[in-house]
Every structure is written in C-alpha cells, then in structure tokens.
C-alpha cells in the first residue's frame, strides 16, 4: 500500500515537538476519520530495527533496509486504521525531531547544521513510499534555542558551562537557511514549510492546528480532547542550572542523574519562559547581531507573511507571539483585544508567559462552549 502524501514534521529540537506529539496522539482517532495516519517518534525510536535509522549517522545498508521495511509496516497499519474508520487515506504525518539527525547543535567542528538530515529524510520518504512529500520544520530564535538546549543538557547530567557547550555561539553556525536549502534539494521533497515556534508555542491545540493546516482540516477537528494540560518540557531556572552545573560532576549513574533532575525540577524549575534565560543582555545582543543577516534572509525567503526583523530583538519576537495569539485565540471580546494591545508593549518573555497560561484557559473554555454548539 502506498501513502498518498507524506508530512514530515522534523522538529527542530526544543520547539515543543514532544508536546505536539502528545497532542496529536489525543486526536488520533479523529485523524483516522479524516484520512490521516500518524507515526510518532516513539514508534520509530522504539522499532526493533531502529539501528538502521539514518538519523543516527552511518548505518549499514542491511540495517537501513530492515528499518525501512518496518516503517512501511507502520504505514500499512495506519492505512488500515484509516479505512476501518471509514475514510480514504489522504496523508501520513510522521513526527520526530530526530529526523534531522541526532547530533547536538553544538559540535564545534561541524561544518553543516545537522549533516545527517538529507539522508534521514530521504530514507523516511523512501520507506513511506509517498506520492508527494512535504517537510515541516519549526524554528526557534537561535539564542533561545541555545539556552533551551543548554538547560536540557544540564538536566541530562551535563557538566559544561554555556560557553564551553557553545564555543561558536557568536558565529552564525545555526544555518537554518542552509539546512532548508539542502532539504529542498532532495528531489522527493516538494516543499519545506518553515514556521517560527514563537508563533505557535503557547498552546498544544494551536500547534496541532498549525501543523495540520496544509491538509485543509481547518475547523474540522474537535481539539477539545487535547485539553490544556500539555506543556513543553519543564526547564531548569538559572539557579537550578548553577546547582546542576556543580552537582552533576559528582553523579555517576543515570539513576543518580534522574534523582537530581527530579529534585531540581520540583524545587527550582523555571516558572515561566523568562525564567529559562541564561544569557546576559550583552551576550544575547551579540548572538542576535551574528544572526541578523541570516534571519533577515530566512524570513524574506520562507516566511514572507511575517516581518523580516522578527528575530532581531525581544520586542520584535514578542510581536510574533502576539500574532500567533491573535490567530489562535481570535476573539470578539473587547476585554481580550484590550489585553492584547497591552501585551504588545511587553517583552516577549512576559507576553509568552501571560498568554501561555491565561489564553490556554480561555481556549479550553471556548472549546467547551464550542463542543456544546457542536463545533469548535
């Protein structure tokens, strides 16, 4: 059985991919009813033949073939589920932020961002045997991406300081444009859809809607089952990061690292987005300046509906968040519009935090009201 269309959600890392997958899982039966199959990271990483997944770098042809056959089996199961749900297959969505390769973004000697990306994506397209393929990639402003990656590495037991982990942090090595171009060069890829994470990160439901928008499902899915309890991974606060940086050096086993991580997240987790900032203002400014030209080109080429300076400053990025909120939580309530106007003057972190919590509640209320009316 071949899949009619493949949507590859490839991350990027630290853009809420885990939250998105959990949200997709909650509407999986509805997706089947609309002719959409879903294969998420766990099924790929947990496959017995996962050693043949090319995201892991060099693999033997035999292992790769085994993996591709297993993925084809997963696709077949999804196609059967779609037909059992009474629909005709329209698309298969594969979601894994490992699809670009598992290398960290901090390799000081790497010449390319995610060098395994092309091989990994091409392998998945081959395995799914789709008629058309689209890559969907959510990106994050580079300084915030580095901060999130750094905190995650500390949570996993890392012992390096920020400047040791990102020795080239002031160089534009996170070449999003180059990576997109490399994927577009793959003959099987008809489109690379680029989305800024800041536009969708406030709610899992809006994230799902955004991801599935090209499939023409607008308004057809009942997003209420997603609920408002899904959040991105909790991250350490800067103080937890300082504690971890010193404590991790004394830890031996994965269990010890897990215990410390659990303790620090229980008592010292960041309580809002602003609480995850490790960079000082000068360092942040230097990083933003290093990426100014790249980001200008990125937005001009791949996000023409958004201002080219969206990643140039906190203030500009906060406007992205506002745009996302306005789209997601479009409301005729004057009070909401007033809050949105007020929020416009605040820095991104504050805006993300306030909207992130309040708007989720409002969405849930709206969904419940919508469910009563028979649609959302």
């Amino acid at each position: 059985m071949s899949a009619p269309e493949l949507h590859l959600h490839v991350g990027f890392q630290q853009t809420g991919a885990g939250m998105l997958r959990r949200a997709l899982g909650r509407v999986r039966p509805q997706l089947h009813e609309h002719g959409i199959g879903l294969i998420v990271h766990g099924a790929l990483a947990g496959a017995p033949s996962a050693a043949g997944w090319r995201c892991r770098g060099t693999v033997t042809p035999g292992d790769a073939e085994l993996f591709e056959r297993e993925v084809a089996g997963l696709v077949d199961r999804e196609l059967v589920a779609i037909r059992v749900a009474g629909a005709e297959p329209r698309a298969i969505v594969v979601s894994s932020d490992h699809l670009l390769g598992r290398e960290n973004i901090d390799g000081p000697d790497e010449q390319l961002l995610r060098p395994a990306a092309e091989a990994s994506v091409a392998q998945m397209i081959r395995a799914v045997d789709a008629t058309r393929s689209r890559v969907v990639m959510y990106l994050r402003r580079q300084d915030r991406l580095m901060e999130a990656c750094y905190l995650r590495s500390l949570q996993q037991g890392g012992t390096r300081r920020f400047e040791q982990q990102f020795p080239r942090r002031f160089e534009p090595v996170l070449d999003y444009g180059g990576l997109i171009g490399r994927l577009l060069d793959l003959p099987q890829v008809m489109d690379v859809r680029v989305r800024p994470f800041e536009l969708v990160g406030a709610s899992a439901a809006s994230y799902v809607e955004d991801l599935l928008a090209p499939l023409g499902l607008h308004g057809e899915l009942d997003l209420a089952p997603i609920g408002d309890d899904l959040t991105a991974y909790r991250l350490y606060s800067p103080r937890a990061a300082r504690i971890a940086l010193e404590v991790n050096a004394h830890l031996g086993s994965p269990e010890e690292r897990r215990l410390v991580r659990t303790f620090l997240l229980e008592h010292f987790a960041a309580t809002d987005d602003a609480g995850t900032r490790c960079l000082g203002p000068d360092e942040r400014q230097r990083i933003l300046e290093a990426y100014t030209a790249d980001n200008h080109r990125l937005f001009a080429s791949h996000l023409p509906d958004l201002p080219v300076e969206s990643y140039a400053s906190d203030q500009a990025t906060s406007r992205l968040v506002e745009v996302g909120m306005a789209r997601t939580y479009a409301s005729t309530d004057p009070a909401d519009r007033q809050k949105a106007r007020r929020a416009r003057a605040w820095p991104a972190s504050v805006t993300e935090w306030i909207w992130g919590s309040k708007a989720r509640r409002r969405l849930q209320g709206g969904q419940q009201a919508g469910a009563k009316r028979g649609r959302v």
Binding site: R239, R242, I243, E246, V247, A249, H250, L251, E256, L259, V260, F263, E266, H267
Partner: protein, 295 residues
C-alpha cells in the same frame, strides 16, 4: 527546697538527643504513669535558646518549671535541650562548649528551688567533630572539612571543663556523664537506660519506632557542598536535606572520609585517658559511632 526533682538532659549535640526528646514527646502518658512530666524541646528553645536567653532572662525558664512542677501528679520533671550549653565548637575557644561553665552557673541558680540532676552524653572528640561538621553541612553550610578544621584547635577539644563546671555547680553525685557508645545496644535499650539512670524504679521497655535520621554519605557531602551555596531559604535547605537523606545517605553509599586515619588516631590518643576518666569507657571502644540516632 522542694522534694520535686528536675532532670536536665543537656545533650551533647550529636548524641541521640532527638531520640530521647521524640520518645518523651510521644509518650507523655507513659511518663505520667511514673509521675514524670516532660518539658519539650520546642518550649525549651523559647526559654533557653542557645543559652543566651537563659543568661539574660532566667525567670522565663524558672517560671515555666515552677508552673509544671506545681502539678500534684508529678514528682519529677525531665527536660532535654542540647543547645542549652551554647555552641559546642567555636574558633579560638579553649575547650568544647566554651560558654558552658557560665551558663551552667546560671542554670543552677534557676534550678535552686528543686532537687536537680544533669545528664550529659558525650562521645570521643574525633567522632564528635566529624558528626558536628556533617550536621552543619546538613543545615546548609558549604565549607569543606579541611577549611572548617583550620579554624579549630584540635588541642582544645576537652570535655573536662564543661563536665567540671556541671559537677561543681550541681554536685559531683548529681551529674551523669554517659558514653554515647551505648547507642550500639539499640535505640530502645538506649532509651530504657536513660530512664533507669534517672530512677531504677522507672523500668521502661520501650518499643519505639526507629528514627530514620541517616547521615549523609561521602557522595551526599560532595553534592551538598556543591549545592548549598546556591540555596537561599530555610525551606530550600530543608528540601535539600531531605533529598540527600533519602537518596544519598550512608545507608546506600560509603561514609564520608573527613579526618585521615592518622589525624583520628592523634585526636583519640590526645583525649583517651580523659574520656575514660569521665565516662568509664575507653575512647577506642566508644568510637566508630557516626551520625545521629538512626544508627
């Protein structure tokens, strides 16, 4: 002088004071049956503090004792408060509990209306210093043992001055100096022994739930030293203490190495005869008991 008696357990620190305190707190009815009333540690903090309050406002403790002993149903009041004698170790101090003699003098003035006895449990100096250091770390300190030791004079760790002060003020036959090594017989035996010393007729057979108060391990110590400097509030320090006790205690990991074997031998040798004279126990036999009552 009243025939009623005050039994004052003065610690020392790190000698299972909390075990005795918790047992008495949880068994007031049992003690009542032996006509004993217990004045709890919390109240003693208010009355005595770290000794300074007793020096400045002795009437607070005196009034409270009088109030409790006015009860016809009690012949004896027992209290336990290891902070009464002040901090045990201070840089430049000539002996353990340097403020002890001054405080003891004041204490006996307060206890004048009643018969009184003092109990002091002690342990060999090397173990005492190590254990007290670990308690400080447990409470949020983050200085290394060697740095902490730099401020201490290992020749100024004698128990004798404070014991002499007690014997002088209370009377030699009214002071019990007990070797903490008794704890190796078990918690219940330790508790029962304490009450037999108070009165052989108080023959308790406690079946008390063991107190889990393990000391941190070597790894726990390294983690605490790394983390404590970043903690800001008592709540955070308490959370860290509980975390380390639960997951990085000496039940699961090797004990911390603080004194070297050579240092420990030197300290033991320095105070061995004094310890034997004070308690009747040999320091070598009394050693090897680390941590709190959870041993």
């Amino acid at each position: 002088m009243s025939q009623k008696e005050v039994v004052y357990h003065l610690g020392a620190h790190k000698t299972a004071s909390s075990l005795l305190q918790k047992y008495m707190r949880d068994n007031t009815d049992v003690l009542r049956g032996h006509r004993i009333v217990y004045l709890g540690r919390g109240e003693m903090n208010d009355c005595v503090g770290w000794g300074k309050r007793l020096l400045k406002r002795p009437e607070i403790l005196g009034d409270r004792l009088a109030e409790l002993l006015d009860d016809d149903g009690c012949d004896r009041l027992v209290t336990s408060h290891e902070n009464t004698l002040g901090p045990p170790l201070k840089p430049g101090a000539p002996h353990l509990y340097p403020r002890g003699p001054e405080i003891v003098e004041q204490l006996t003035r307060v206890l004048m209306p009643w018969r009184s006895r003092a109990f002091l449990y002690i342990r060999p100096q090397a173990e005492f210093v190590e254990s007290y250091y670990l308690q400080r770390i447990h409470q949020g300190d983050h200085v290394s043992f060697s740095e902490w030791l730099d401020d201490l004079d290992l020749d100024a760790l004698s128990w004798r001055p404070v014991v002499d002060a007690l014997r002088q003020q209370f009377g030699p036959d009214r002071v019990e100096v007990v070797d903490f090594g008794l704890i190796r017989q078990g918690q219940n035996a330790f508790i029962a022994d304490f009450f037999r010393r108070i009165d052989p007729a108080v023959d308790l057979a406690p079946d008390y739930r063991p107190i889990r108060n393990p000391s941190i391990s070597g790894k726990g110590l390294r983690i605490a030293l790394a983390a404590n400097k970043h903690l800001r509030s008592d709540r955070e320090r308490k959370a860290m203490r509980i975390f380390l006790q639960r997951h990085f205690s000496n039940r699961d990991y090797p004990r911390p190495i603080l004194f070297t074997d050579e240092q420990k031998a030197q300290v033991r040798q320095r105070y061995a005869s004094e310890y034997e004279q004070l308690t009747g126990a040999r320091a070598q036999d009394a050693g090897g008991v680390m941590g709190g009552a959870g041993r």
